[in-house]
């Protein structure tokens, strides 16, 4: 027990005690505390176990750069958040926090054996050790390592919280509300600019919150900004990424600091487009690198000042400072003022300003110049430190329970770097600072490299008489990377910091090296004997701090992840027990099971009904494009393989669409309504793609054609009425159209009314039966459907779904683009060369049909397959071989694309893509499937009514 609550001071509300728990034990803090400050005040110094060596770790920082104290917060079922920084978690009544990466408990952790075995875990350890055999990696090494070396546990339940998101626009966005950011806001406040001021903490002030002398100014400024109507203040908000054209992503934490879960959003994603961005992100203090610098009780000097002045917490009873920078001295003076006991100040430098020395002397502080800390005693808490003179290595021991480190400052250029602003190296501060902007942005305050807390000396590793290869001097605390690891990487030949980073994992933890990048760079620079600027700088990438998936997804989850498109008839299908499937974004009825039926039974019944009487099918999802204009026929003639110019108004044609490379991309039946008007249909999934492709050709290749394209997919409900009784059912309901076979032949279109509703009536068939597709304005779809169902009762009309539709079309040899083709299939491969207009001089894809690869033998071609055993239904996707006796791995010559049980034929049928398949008619092929290799005969693809007798009636 060494940290404690100071008698006075801090911005906490001592009149409001707060009860919370950590690792199941109850503690008390005050309103305004973070989990870190409250636990420090309770004398807690052990916060977690390190990533690789499971070394005991305490608090190192006071802000979001904290690498050690990662904790989990449990807010109930599904509300478990791992890897939060204790320095950023505000306490509230009932807060339930846990330490991580320890078993069975934080104090007694079995994984700590890794620390004793440390010599076996050098840089690149995983890469070197767990290379072989591969199966060991997947089954043994990785699960074991993941369990041992880890962060917090991932949540296992669905997140019940809701998250909000918004877009915002402003003239000026200021990131960081420390003194520099507040000044920028005050300065711009009087203009008519819309200003947004963002800060990750719970109140404005940044570094000023730890400086009581600035509090009156802070309060005045805060009031002025709140009163300004053009200033929006977002606290508890992290600007995590800076993207193109001054687009900033930020997450605002709305409820995690409150005692109870609420129904209001937990976090809110802000997507801000700003005219100008001012970055005032401040600077992060650098740790010093020496043996034992990760012992609990060793922390950043500036953090101790924050805990004392902002939270009224002494981080220890006897505190020593190891410094290379003036700022450490100022911190210590502030600590004395706050009532914290200072044991000694050790400075690695020999000379520094007399003002500092005088003040130390006035305060009675022991000072050791030209000295370094060479060792830290104590495992779960500092008990004493070893120091020695840098020249003669004469040493001394100082008893203390806390050791502060002041290694200088690193400007926070994270967002600046996201924006691709350039950086310049400054030798005097040993850090990169912002140079040339890439966006309309500027940096102010400490993140620009300007500060008033003095100067310092740049040291990579503190001088020590010890064998450098035997000490644990940490650089990256979160990933357990030591100075030794970086030197080893250099010895093994790594030269670029990008490679050294990946080999050692320095800077690759969840904190992205906020406290480690510059120290790592300095150590590599010394080891390589090259200036820092010659070995590069790793890139900063969003997010600045880890963010929840919930916030990034915001509303886009569950039913709102992507819209489900439904037809006007969908409600009827749902009420009548349809089983649905998703096709592209459409929800389609797959089959309509009757009581006790499984899919197989339902589909068989639906197929038989279509073949024997009449079936009804919702085809509204078919893509539809209205093509209008004097050049409409010419345009279609160029787009599709088929000839269109001679098509008479009132007639339909099957259209096959290729891409310019000659491969099938879509198909559909289209109708000519008038000389200058066509009604095109596309596949359900292809509608948008086809329209885009047509617009592309129309706008950029043939802008001279006078044609207009309009998507009409959602303008029409389409009801397919298929079966020998279709005409009988339809005839009494239709007006203005002669339905007789002579007047209205197969592949024709007529306009009239059905049930009084205007209709475009197609006589077409995707089933091989006498069929009609009734297009009515979408809003009338269900009404017409229900009327047909009522009138059709005398024919035992049967609604059927996509599954029966698939079987019926396969019996007739009709392909489905995207199922029976895969983007490498030509019309010839698919047996559709009859649809490619040989006499046409040109159409999209025609030239490619003569490409050498397209005319070469051995291409995969679409054929029918009839299994030897008619009861065997092949698996779609099953591979096909020519010789089942060949050794494994066999030569696969194709695969099954469609396969069904045909109740009509009393046997299975299938399509397959087979290399050279058209030449194999009547031959036998083999399909290895689990348990048995099946035999099938290659056949044509039309299994039913090949002469089309059932169509032309």
């Amino acid at each position: 027990m060494s940290g404690y609550r100071l008698e006075n001071g801090g911005r906490i509300d001592r009149s409001r005690p707060v009860e919370f728990s950590f690792d199941g034990n109850p503690y008390q803090g005050f309103a305004g505390d973070t989990l870190a400050s409250a636990l420090l005040a309770n004398g807690i110094s052990l916060f977690g176990r390190s990533f690789k060596y499971h070394r005991p770790r305490g608090i190192m920082a006071a802000g979001s750069e904290e690498p050690n104290a990662l904790i989990s917060v449990d807010r109930g079922a599904g509300r478990f958040t791992p890897n939060l920084r204790a320095t950023g978690v505000e306490i509230h009544a009932g807060l339930n926090a846990f330490s991580q990466n320890r078993w069975p408990s934080l104090k007694r952790d079995f994984g700590a054996i890794n620390d004793r075995l440390g010599m076996f875990f050098p840089a690149g350890f995983y890469n070197k050790t767990f290379m072989w055999p591969r199966s060991f990696w997947e089954k043994l090494y990785e699960p074991a390592i993941r369990k041992m070396a880890g962060l917090g546990d991932a949540p296992t339940q669905e997140d019940p919280d809701i998250y909000a998101s918004t877009y915002a626009h402003c003239d000026l966005l200021i990131v960081g509300a420390g003194p520099a950011g507040i000044d920028a806001a005050l300065e711009a406040m009087g203009s008519n600019k819309r200003i947004i001021l963002i800060d990750e903490q719970d109140e404005l002030g940044g570094g000023a919150l730890a400086d009581p002398a600035l509090w009156p100014w802070l309060e005045r400024s805060r009031k002025a900004l709140i009163d300004a109507p053009n200033v929006t203040i977002l606290t508890r908000t992290t600007a995590f990424g800076y993207y193109h054209d001054n687009f900033i992503g930020a997450v605002q934490r709305l409820t995690d600091h409150m005692p109870n879960n609420s129904d209001s959003p937990r976090e809110k994603l802000w997507r801000v487009r700003a005219g100008e961005v001012v970055l005032a992100q401040g600077a992060i203090e650098r740790p010093l690198v020496f043996d034992g610098n990760d012992t609990p009780g060793v922390m950043l000097s500036s953090a101790a000042k924050v805990f004392a002045n902002r939270f009224g917490v002494a981080v220890g009873t006897s505190v020593a400072l190891m410094t290379a920078h003036d700022s450490g001295w100022h911190d210590v003076f502030a600590l004395v003022k706050a009532g914290v006991g200072i044991k000694a100040v050790i400075d690695v430098r020999t000379e520094l300003s007399s003002a500092l020395l005088d003040e130390a002397s006035r305060l009675g502080i022991n000072v050791y110049l030209n000295h370094s800390v060479t060792g830290v005693n104590g495992r779960h808490r500092v008990t004493s430190i070893q120091i020695c003179n840098n020249d003669d290595f004469v040493g001394a021991r100082i008893d203390c329970d806390t050791l502060l480190m002041a290694g200088g400052w690193t400007p926070s250029v994270h967002l600046w770097s996201h924006s691709k602003g350039s950086l310049a190296w400054r030798d005097d501060i040993g850090a990169y600072v912002p140079d040339q902007p890439n966006e309309n942005a500027r940096c102010v305050g400490a993140c620009s490299g300007g500060w008033d807390f003095g100067s310092g000396m740049i040291v990579d590793v503190l001088p020590t008489p010890k064998d450098q290869s035997r000490i644990k001097a940490f650089v990256d605390f979160q990933n357990d990377v030591t100075a030794k690891d970086i030197k080893l990487a250099v010895r093994e030949g790594f030269r670029s910091i990008e490679h050294i980073k990946r080999y050692t994992t320095n800077g690759m933890a969840t904190d992205q090296g906020k406290t480690s990048n510059l120290n790592g760079l300095q150590i590599a620079s010394t080891a390589l004997a090259k200036p820092v600027t010659d070995i590069g700088l790793t890139s900063f990438r969003p997010p600045y701090t880890p963010q929840t998936f919930g916030a990034l997804a915001a509303h886009a989850k569950g039913a709102l992840f992507q819209p489900t498109r439904t037809t006007n008839i969908d409600g009827w299908a749902a009420e009548n027990g349809a089983v649905f499937e998703l096709v592209a974004q459409w929800r389609r009825a797959r089959y309509f099971p009757k009581m006790g039926e499984d899919m197989h039974a339902a589909v068989n019944r639906e197929c038989v009904a279509v073949r024997s009487s009449v079936g009804i099918f919702d085809a509204s999802t078919l893509g539809k494009i209205e093509v209008v204009g004097p050049d409409a026929a010419e345009f279609l003639n160029r787009m599709y393989t088929n000839p269109w110019k001679a098509l008479e108004p009132g007639r339909c044609r099957y259209g096959l669409l290729l891409k310019e490379d000659g491969f099938i991309t879509d198909d559909g039946v289209s109708a000519r309504l008038a000389p200058d008007r066509f009604h095109l249909t596309t596949t359900t999934g292809g509608a948008a793609r086809v329209l885009n492709m047509m617009e592309d050709y129309l706008q950029t290749e043939w802008p001279d054609l006078d044609v207009w394209l309009t998507s009409t997919t959602e303008q029409y409900a389409v009801i397919a009425l298929q079966g020998p009784n279709a005409r009988k059912l339809l005839e009494p309901l239709v007006e203005g159209i002669d339905l007789s076979a002579d007047a209205f032949p197969h592949m024709a279109i007529r306009e009239g009314t059905i049930c009084g509703i205007p209709t475009r009536l197609f006589r077409v068939s995707f089933t091989g039966e006498l069929g009609f597709e009734i297009n009515v304005p979408t809003a009338y779809g269900r009404a017409v459907w229900e009327h047909l169902m009522a009138e059709g009762a005398k024919f035992d009309i049967t609604p059927y779904g996509t599954e029966a539709m698939h079987v019926l079309r396969a019996e007739k040899g009709f392909i489905i683009v995207g199922q029976d083709t895969d983007g490498t299939i030509t019309p010839f491969d698919a047996g559709l060369d009859w649809a490619a207009g040989k006499k046409k001089p040109d159409f999209v894809g025609k030239r490619s049909m003569a490409r050498p690869d397209i005319v070469a033998p051995g291409r995969k071609q679409l054929v029918g397959l009839l299994t030897d055993d008619p009861n065997v239904v092949l698996e779609e996707g099953a591979q096909i071989v020519a010789d089942p006796r060949q050794p494994i791995p066999m030569t696969m010559i194709g695969h099954v694309t469609s396969s069904y049980w045909s109740e009509t034929l009393g046997r299975s049928i299938a399509f397959a893509l087979v290399a050279g398949g058209h030449e194999m008619m009547g031959g036998m092929l083999y399909i290895p499937m689990p348990g048995k290799t099946h035999e099938a005969k290659v056949s044509g693809m039309v299994f039913y009514d090949a002469e089309g007798a059932r169509l032309h009636v």
Binding site: H244, F247, E695, Q699, P841, R851
Partner: protein
Amino acid sequence: MILIHCPYCDEKRPEIEFANAGQAHVARPLDPSSQSDEEWEAYLFIRANPRGRHHERWRHVHGCGRFFNAVRDTVTDKFETTYKAGEPRR
């Protein structure tokens, strides 16, 4: 998210309203049947992959629907200019 100037709408709009449509100024030969296999291969498949200035097509698909041309720097991802389809290469 990049802002892209649509030369038809004459407005800078967010990237999500647009779709990239590949390299610009690759005109479909007027008479494909007269193309040799090599010429046709070049038209179909051979594309530039420059480091720096790149002429490409975009479509304001969730806006006016028009295809247009753009010059974008592939290193900085900055748009230098956009112009209407059919206008000369910039």
